[in-house]
Structure formats: structure tokens, C-alpha cells
Symmetry: C2
Subunit: 144 residues, 2 copies
DNA sequence: TCCATATGGTTAGCATAATAACTATATGTC
DNA sequence: GACATATAGTTATTATGCTAACCATATGGA
């Protein structure tokens, strides 16, 4: 995660986009500022989570499982759809969380034997509870 | 680049942060929405640039060199500072741009032999000019 | 029933990011 | 002048993302 530290000046954008009448330099600069702020925040979040032994994706995968009001488990494709990441990435993330003992196959598996339902272990729930408040405080403190 | 597709509801955030009085659920949700929008835009930008044979970092490194009003070259550390990325990443990015023939060592090298000044080649300037308008149009079209 | 097609998940290979550790060159102080 | 320290850049290692290709299981139509 990264993004430009030195944003282009509005004058520079205006010069480059002079022949693009549908592009407003002020708006483009505002979008760039937001991108910069978002990337800095994501970097901060990743550093915070890494301090707790988790990548952002690992943390969010746990959140997706915890968040289901009616259920205690989810299948891999359900998690991938909610996170908007590719299946292979999720496959690795789930393997890593399993290795850490934070998630495990759910007690009841579905009839469809292609699927694996996954639940948080007690250790997983505890880790998640430890990390969540600081995560929301970081989000709250962001000026975005 | 990615971020949550299904954002948590404000009620869910409120429940989790009930004992954090300094965290406002509405504000947290707004920050999450901005993060989501920023990550989607970055993914779109990366896809656009990849279609032109460049990664985002490669493109931005070229922009940093082009952008200097008084100069036609920059050293690696100057580029890294403006982009806010680590030196090793920049080292690879510059090697890759050199392999593509888009940048080359500048005609005049500084006395300090540790440094390498880098300029855009004619092919580099042409590629940059091809790509830039679409880049700004993507930024302009973003609702961020 | 059987075969084509779809879906869930993993593996393989590539690109890009980070930190740590390295080489080479400059600089500044004794 | 010589040695300690700082700076520019590269290499090694690790983590995380992607697409493409691959198994295994389900499903649906002839």
C-alpha cells in the first residue's frame, strides 16, 4: 500500500489536461488527496495489525466470520465474496489462520463435500476481541 | 489493492464499540466507505495502466521525472522520497523501466558517483503522453 | 444413466510491496 | 592522512496480491 507523497500542483494538472475539457484540475487534485489519505491510513492499519500478528486480510476474514448474526461459520467463497479478493488469496489466508490456530473447520459440515465451513476457535475469538477496539480507534482518528 | 465489499452496518460498529465512547460509529462507517472507494479506484487505475504495460509505481516514477520543471533527470532517492516507497522497491521499478527502454541514465551524471541521475527516453516520453490523459480521466470520474 | 457444464477449492507462476543486510562512495573529525 | 559515520543503491528474504490452470464434487439435460 502506498501513494504519492508529493501531489502534483493544480497548475501542473491544468497544464497536462488543457486539451481534456471534461477534466477539472481542482477535482482531480481532491481525488488524489483522498487517495493519499486512504493509502496512509491503510498503511497504518496494516502496521497496527501486524503488531498483533495479523495481516489486514487475515483480520478481515475473521471479522466476516464473526459478523454473521445467525451463523458461526462461513464457507471460503462466501468470505471471498464479502472481502472482494480472489479465491487463491483467500485459500492462503485461511490456511495461515488455520496454522495459527485462530480458525478451524466448523463442527457441522454441509452436505456439499466441495465446501468447507470455517469457524473461529476460542483463541481466534480472543485475538479478535483484543484487536478490534484499536482497529476502530484507528479508523475513527482518520481524517478522511 | 482491495478492501471490504460488504461494509459493517452502523449498528454492528456501535455494538462492538459500545465501551469506546470516543469512537463515533457514523464517522467510522464514513471512513470505511472512503477506504472502499479509494481501493476500488486504485484497482481501476492499476488495471488501466497494466493495459499500457505499466504498473502504478512505474507510471508514477515516470511522472516524478517528467514533473520537475527545472530539470530533466532525478536520482533514485529523490524519486523514492516523492513517491513514499522504499528504496529496494524503487530499485526494481527503475530496473524494470530501464529494461523496457522508457528511462535511461541522464546525459550528465553528478560528481557523487554513488548517485545515478535518470531521464525519460524519447520512447518513455511518448508512452507517458499516451497514458496520462486516460489516467486523469479515471481520477476525474471517481466519486471520492 | 451419462456426459457437459458449473462450482468450490488448491496449486503454480508471476508481480510488487516491505525489512534487513550488504557494497560502494562521501564526509567530517582527530 | 585515517578512521568513524552517513548516504546511495542493490541483493536476499518474506508476505501478499493476481491470473491461469488444475482437481473434486454437483447439477442438469439428452
Amino acid at each position: 500500500m502506498f501513494f504519492l507523497k508529493d501531489l502534483p500542483s493544480e497548475a501542473m494538472i491544468r497544464g497536462v489536461t488543457a486539451d481534456l475539457p471534461d477534466v477539472s484540475p481542482g477535482h482531480v487534485l481532491s481525488v488524489l488527496s483522498h487517495l493519499r489519505a486512504a493509502s496512509v491510513l491503510m498503511r497504518d492499519i496494516e502496521a497496527y495489525l501486524r503488531g498483533h500478528g495479523l495481516s489486514q486480510t487475515q483480520f478481515l476474514a475473521m471479522m466476516m466470520i464473526m459478523r454473521e448474526p445467525e451463523r458461526t461459520s462461513l464457507s471460503a467463497v462466501e468470505i471471498a465474496a464479502r472481502l472482494d479478493i480472489s479465491k487463491p488469496v483467500l485459500s492462503k489466508v485461511l490456511a495461515s489462520l488455520t496454522d495459527k490456530g485462530l480458525i478451524a473447520p466448523a463442527a457441522s459440515q454441509p452436505a456439499d463435500r466441495r465446501q468447507k465451513q470455517l469457524s473461529l476457535t476460542p483463541a481466534g475469538k480472543q485475538r479478535f476481541a483484543q484487536v478490534l477496539p484499536g482497529y476502530f480507534q484507528l479508523l475513527h482518528a482518520a481524517n478522511l
